[in-house]
Symmetry: C2
Subunit: 212 residues, 2 copies
């Protein structure tokens, strides 16, 4: 099945495939029918042979001189990346970033469905953000039984990051998407993805200062 690759794709390939998808979706919107890896290469500054290699994971081959069919390529990429399948997630920490992610309807267009939020703040527990109910972390077993999820989005304060991840994993969460600047440690077999918002801020600030 195309949307259930059993192979572990290399991280650099997984980073580039969404770029190709974004570009191909633009072409599709412009009613372009075919695209060559040379064209993608010029648009995205990625080596054409690298593109062909990345796309070979999808068992997609371009036609000589014509290239890839745009619509088929867009559909196959989205399926292959898992963006067309619903993956259920909890948000841990319904503070400002957590609430923002619950409100970002864009994530659901990419296959991420946030089904519950957790917090310890009595002012937040019991409330609903963008249709998602916030539960007390102590009731996670109960929520997990009724509306299970495999992905835990971590937006708690740094000092609670490790403990919260441990609780989530203990209850059956299989992947942690960490938005905190804390390096959470997880057992082997648990998927970890770190979105380092603060590292990107630090990079921007440093480069701006160095230019000035």
């Amino acid at each position: 099945m195309l949307n259930n690759p059993d192979i572990i794709l290399p991280e650099p390939t997984l980073r580039r495939l969404p770029w190709y998808l974004a570009y191909v979706e633009i072409l599709k919107a412009r009613n372009v029918e075919y695209v060559s890896s040379t064209q993608i290469s010029r648009a995205l500054n990625v080596d054409a042979s690298q593109i062909a290699k990345d796309l070979s994971f999808l068992s997609l081959k371009g036609k000589t001189r014509i290239g890839y069919e745009v619509e088929a390529l867009a559909g196959t990429l989205a399926d292959f990346l898992g963006f067309t399948t619903s993956h259920k997630a909890y948000v841990f920490g319904a503070g400002s970033l957590g609430a923002a992610l619950m409100q970002d309807s864009g994530l659901s267009n990419y296959g991420l469905e946030i089904v519950a939020g957790f917090d310890v703040d009595p002012d937040k527990v019991g409330k609903t953000v963008a249709g998602v109910r916030i539960h007390h972390i102590d009731s996670i077993s109960d929520v997990m039984r009724k509306a299970p999820a495999s992905i835990g989005i971590l937006t708690v304060p740094v000092e609670c990051a490790q403990e919260t991840a441990d609780i989530a994993i203990g209850e059956g969460i299989k992947a942690i998407w960490n938005f905190t600047p804390y390096r959470v440690k997880v057992a082997e077999g648990i998927v970890m993805a770190n979105t380092s918002i603060y590292a990107h801020l630090a990079l921007i600030f440093n480069r701006l200062n160095a230019d000035a």
Copy 2:
């Protein structure tokens, strides 16, 4: 000046420094007075000699057998990373992610001050999100004169990403923080940071499927 490093720090160092800061802030909250690089190393799984090397950029030296003073280290790191200085930014694209970022008050704690939003949707232009006014992109010159900013946060649809970045840079924006999956091209001297939300989703989905 510590919070105005004129040197361009290596990207890996800029990625690790916020980890140290997060860890040291936890220690500070626990009233710990001193921390050694060995301790940081154990907590974060980073080589102790690497930590000492990264921290040497801050002209901070630990005392033999005692280590670094926690409070001084936290303050120096935050200053050095630019988190204690206000950097003004515009959000381009007041859709779901853009609005979410405007509502994320956490960013202002790390030195990012969003002073205006831009969109083309008549339903959004003129409105205010979390105190930030949304302007039509056509009035950017005017806004830039009255409330200048150097950072452009890009949360527009992919098909507008390049055009919007070009407009922003043309008006004096010096750094693009790109949240779209499109590989925006910028002239030399313009700072680019890509936060690849969709690549992280793709990574999580792929690893979860491969495990199943």
